[in-house]
């Protein structure tokens, strides 16, 4: 007698070979299902049948039986009979699909939805295509909650969700409740609001209304991945803040094996692990790469890559690389294999990228082959544009870094994991592997996805997730310990004594500067106290600093907070940092600065390319000026305010300066439009009509923009107009 495992193997072989007798195949599958063993594999086989549904047409009722039995209701073809009507009625979600009908939950979604509807908090671990976010949308669609906060790790996810939830913001005769989507800290509230925030914005936000429900996406990021994981620290702080405002939450993430029991009991919520419930099947192919350095291993990788690309020609494919530079190199390599697409729109986009950024930026050329390199250095609007083009199948290959795998949804059929590590030294673990591989396939579009892995498949992963701010684990940076509620354990108290037994800075100030090491804050504050008279003139300024004050503050940013170390080589000294900021304040064009860098660095380094210069400048603008610099200068601001006030001196206020640098010296609201997919170059042109001023709040800016969302006076190209029109509706 054939074993269950043997039967599964036989069925899989039959499916692969294509020599199937449909009826017996499906009956065997029913038999296997009835054994209730290896449920994931049975589900996998059922989903694979969907890929060739036509072949099973005559026995569709058996397939539908299996789909129903496995709870895959969205895939089932429902009949008009009573039983089907009842079932369908039960699993119908409040969501509307593209055809105007109701979307159905699968059984596991239904279970979680039921809990959420009973206002039970849930932590859900489930694979990428499970439809975890759909449950959030379902709750919104019930329009029973007034204020919802959704915390996501990246601005790309804010962009994606904003578009997804836009339909709940428009006036409708059917519903009284309409939401306002709030993405910025300083936006005014409506009657009902969906706050789409990163953890930083949750912390920064003052005066939340009464919150009914909050969501933490990619909740595994609550567990610090080292003693300098400040994003995790901030997520913990944000989580604590939200928990103090609302007891009803939903946290979602992929492939988590379990949660620290202490955390679970303190939170009093349900943990549901549905990691094995798949909605798409995956073919995994592993390619062995001989040991060696990257250059040596790339030779083999590239051989495999060329073969794969030739075989999957034209299919939507994501290729994972460990760094933006490698993504860029690989995208260029692929452009030699993949022919030009000769599409008018791609040509226009190519020309626009050349004009806007740099004529020799390789991305502007390779996009004509339907290839993009997607990574965190790209301006936000461009990254968003690339994802949209990929999902619209205008481009077919996205070469990406880890940025794209943190929750952004695409319609990739194939995933090629080119690098088997996350950074130069850190190997890919099984958690990250699954996270990347999970991006292959998409419900209703690609029932079966392909994953091609170059290297040895990882086995170790995240075993247990902890939420330190709840469990009071001591394996976290001091800065997070300072946010713990009392009582402290002896060990924690031992670490915190140095902060409690000092009178240089208050704990409130230290905590306010989240993301900045407390030791560095204390060292700076001590020196400021020693030098407060001589430094006062250099530090007591409002609005904009003069040159000496700018240099002084940058000196402080480097000396105490090592700003240079975040700059990936783009800044080598505090003086140079000042010069670069001045060039931004003087509105020197990005193109000129890129040219300068290229000319200069390529003199000594033959390998330095124009792409390196482009990426370096993107990185400086987005990572340093857009994030680290504001965080550090804000900390300096808070500390000088505290110290000078303590000594009875007038303190400075750097907020306007921070905003100006963060906005790259353009009107802040226009820079915010980058998050809405509208490139700053387009906003600046259109603003001749919009007339958004520096002093306008983002809400005021939106009103002005909506008043004249189209005008001949924009003087935009056809492509620019398309980009604008496509995104402006989501404002």
């Amino acid at each position: 007698m054939i074993t269950e495992k043997g039967l599964e193997v036989v069925l899989r072989e039959q499916l692969n070979s294509g020599s199937i007798e449909p009826q017996s195949f499906l009956l065997n599958l029913v038999e296997l299902h009835n054994t209730h063993s290896s449920e994931r594999n049975v589900q996998d086989l059922i989903i694979r049948c969907l890929e060739n549904r036509e072949r099973f047409k005559e026995y569709g009722h058996i397939l539908d039986y299996l789909l129903e039995a496995r709870g895959l209701f969205p895939y089932k073809k429902f009949d008009d009979n009573f039983k089907d009507k009842i079932t369908k009625n039960i699993v119908t979600s409040p969501l509307i699909n593209e055809m105007g009908g109701s979307k159905l939950f699968h059984i596991k979604q239904f279970d979680v939805y039921q809990l959420l509807m009973k206002r039970k908090s849930v932590i859900l671990s489930a694979p990428t295509s499970f439809g975890k976010t759909l449950l959030v949308e379902a709750l919104i669609a019930t329009r029973t909650l007034s204020n919802i906060v959704i915390v996501v790790p990246t601005l790309s996810l804010i962009d994606e969700l904003k578009k997804k939830f836009h339909k709940y913001t428009v006036d409708s005769d059917e519903y009284v409740v309409k939401y306002k989507i709030i993405t910025q800290v300083n936006q005014a509230h409506g009657n009902n609001n969906i706050f789409l925030y990163t953890q930083e914005r949750v912390i920064e936000k003052e005066g939340f209304p009464v919150i009914d429900f909050f969501v933490v996406d990619e909740f595994y990021k609550l567990m610090p991945q080292g003693m300098d994981d400040y994003r995790s620290e901030r997520l913990n702080i944000a989580f604590k803040k939200l928990l103090s405002l609302c007891g009803f939450f939903y946290m979602l993430g992929p492939n988590i094996k379990n949660i620290n029991p202490l955390t679970l009991s303190k939170l009093g919520c349900r943990y549901i692990d549905e990691s094995n419930f798949i909605t798409v099947a995956t073919n995994e192919y592993t390619f062995t790469i001989p040991p060696g350095n990257d250059a040596e291993r790339d030779v083999t990788r590239n051989e495999y890559l060329k073969k794969i690309i030739n075989n999957i020609s034209g299919e939507q494919t994501i290729i994972y690389c460990k760094s933006p530079k490698r993504a860029s190199i690989l995208a260029n390599l692929l452009s030699e294999i993949i022919p030009l697409k000769k599409e008018h729109d791609l040509n226009s986009l190519s020309n626009w990228l050349k004009e806007t950024f740099h004529p020799d930026w390789s991305q502007s050329k390779i996009i004509q082959h339907g290839i993009c390199a997607h990574h965190a250095k790209l301006p936000r609007s461009i990254a968003s544009l690339f994802v949209d083009l990929f999902n619209e199948k205008r481009i077919n290959v996205l070469v990406c870094t880890s940025t794209l795998i943190e929750g952004v949804n695409t319609n990739a059929k194939n995933i090629i994991i080119y690098d088997d590590c996350i950074t130069k030294r850190v190997q890919l673990d099984s958690f990250t592997y699954n996270n990347i591989a999970g991006r292959s396939g998409r419900m209703f579009e690609h029932f079966v996805g392909n994953v091609f892995f170059f290297g040895e498949k990882p086995t170790d992963g995240l075993n247990q997730i902890d939420i330190p701010i709840i469990s009071h684990s001591d394996n976290v940076p001091d800065s997070l310990l300072l946010h713990y509620d009392e009582p402290y354990s002896e060990k924690i108290m031992g670490r915190l004594n140095k902060y409690f037994d000092q009178d240089v800075l208050s704990i409130d100030v230290i905590n306010k500067n989240s993301g900045v090491p407390p030791e560095a804050q204390l060292e700076f504050a001590s020196d400021l106290m020693e030098n407060f008279q001589s430094w006062h003139k250099l530090m007591c300024w409002n609005n904009m600093p003069n040159s000496g004050q700018l240099n002084h503050i940058n000196k402080m940013a480097e000396k105490y907070f090592s700003i240079k170390s975040f700059a990936s080589g783009a800044v080598k000294s505090d003086v140079q940092l000042s010069r670069k900021i001045v060039s931004i304040l003087k509105n020197e064009t990005l193109k000129d600065i890129i040219d300068q860098d290229y000319e200069y660095f390529s003199e000594d380094d033959d390998d330095f390319t124009i792409d390196d210069a482009v990426l370096r400048n993107f990185d400086f603008r987005r990572k340093i000026l857009g994030h680290y610099y504001p965080v550090i200068i804000n900390a300096i601001n808070n500390i000088q305010e505290y110290v000078f006030t303590k000594f009875g001196y007038k303190a400075g206020n750097y907020k306007a300066f921070i905003l100006r640098v963060e906005s790259l010296n353009v009107t802040p609201s226009l820079m915010t439009l980058e998050e809405y997919g509208i490139p700053i170059s387009i906003s600046l042109k259109a603003n001749k009509v919009w007339k958004v001023k520096d002093s306008d709040s983002f809400d005021e800016a939106i009103d002005k923009i909506k008043c004249c969302s189209y005008s001949d006076d924009f003087k935009l190209s056809e492509l620019e107009l398309k980009i604008l029109e496509k995104n402006i509706i989501f404002l």
Partner: protein
């Protein structure tokens, strides 16, 4: 309180008029700054005119341009640092004027070399080349393009009248608008012409030619003819005004700026005006030179300064 030193100096020289000199010094810079405000920050005003000129300089000439620009920057940054930290303006006014002068002079040198490929060997040659440069490029902004060729009395009178066009504003008052400031500039320009004409006339009187012919003054037709022939070939430009101003302030005017009545507010204003004018001029020079230099070398120069210059970045 009796101004003992001033009394002694006035007793010795009746032309010594501190109040008048103080106003001229402070107000001229103010008029320049007023005019600079009209077009500052400097935008890409030179692009269309100079595109054709790229790639014509030797490496040695390029190096001189870079050197002079860097030296100009050094003085500008120094001036900026002083102005940003003024406690007692009179203490530093002389230093500021020197830094201001050095910044503009080196900027002019860089502009001239980048445009002509000639390295001026002395101030007379520099003056001549600068004069020609301004004649050639009519986009050099107004406060820096007041200049005249032919310093004969009649021509000067006509030119000044034409420039004044009924604007009688002088440096005895503080200009409060562009028009008044322009009047002030013409006033100083006119004074500068008179100063240099007097110098030239004195030089002539002391020249071998005049001595050998026994000419002691300009009352005779022959003396007038010599004088007018000589003056008709001379020029006065912004560079002449600059040099005269520096000369005055570094000499006796420095006493007016640091002695007697408390004038801190006005002197502070003057120092801020010096800074604005210097910033403006160095921006113009930088843009002008950028268009004359090989773009690749220019980019390297900028990127190198970006990384290696130890000077404070100013804006």
């Amino acid at each position: 309180m009796k101004k003992w030193l001033q009394t002694r100096l006035t007793d010795e020289d009746y032309a010594f008029n501190p109040d008048f000199a103080f106003l001229g010094t402070v107000n001229w810079i103010n008029c320049l700054a007023h005019n600079c405000n009209d077009f500052y920050p400097v935008e890409s005003m030179f692009v269309p005119e100079l595109q054709e000129k790229a790639n014509s300089l030797s490496i040695s000439n390029e190096n001189r341009v870079f050197e002079y620009l860097f030296m100009a920057q050094h003085s500008l940054v120094g001036l900026n640092t002083i102005v940003e930290n003024i406690t007692f303006p009179s203490d530093v006014c002389k230093l500021c004027v020197y830094a201001w002068y050095d910044c503009i002079l080196n900027s002019i040198r860089a502009m001239v070399i980048s445009n002509t490929g000639i390295i001026p060997q002395n101030e007379i040659q520099l003056e001549k080349l600068w004069f020609e440069l301004v004649e050639e490029f009519d986009f050099i902004p107004v406060p820096f393009r007041l200049q005249i060729k032919d310093l004969t009395e009649c021509n000067v009178k006509n030119e000044i009248e034409s420039l004044r066009n009924g604007n009688l504003f002088t440096l005895n008052s503080f200009a409060s608008n562009y028009e008044q400031a322009f009047g002030g500039l013409v006033s100083y320009f006119s004074g500068t012409i008179k100063y240099y004409v007097d110098c030239e006339k004195n030089k002539l009187l002391e020249s071998e030619l005049f001595i050998s012919q026994g000419i002691l003054n300009f009352r005779t037709n022959k003396a007038k003819e010599y004088r007018d022939t000589h003056l008709s070939n001379l020029t006065i430009s912004f560079l002449s005004c600059l040099t005269r101003f520096k000369g005055k302030v570094l000499e006796r005017d420095s006493i007016f700026l640091s002695y007697g009545n408390v004038q801190d507010e006005k002197v502070t204003k003057m120092l801020n005006d010096l800074l604005l004018v210097a910033k403006c001029f160095s921006d113009i020079a930088e843009q002008f030179c950028a268009k004359n230099i090989d773009p690749s070398a220019w980019r390297l120069f900028r990127a190198d300064l970006d990384e290696n210059s130890r000077l404070t970045a100013i804006f």
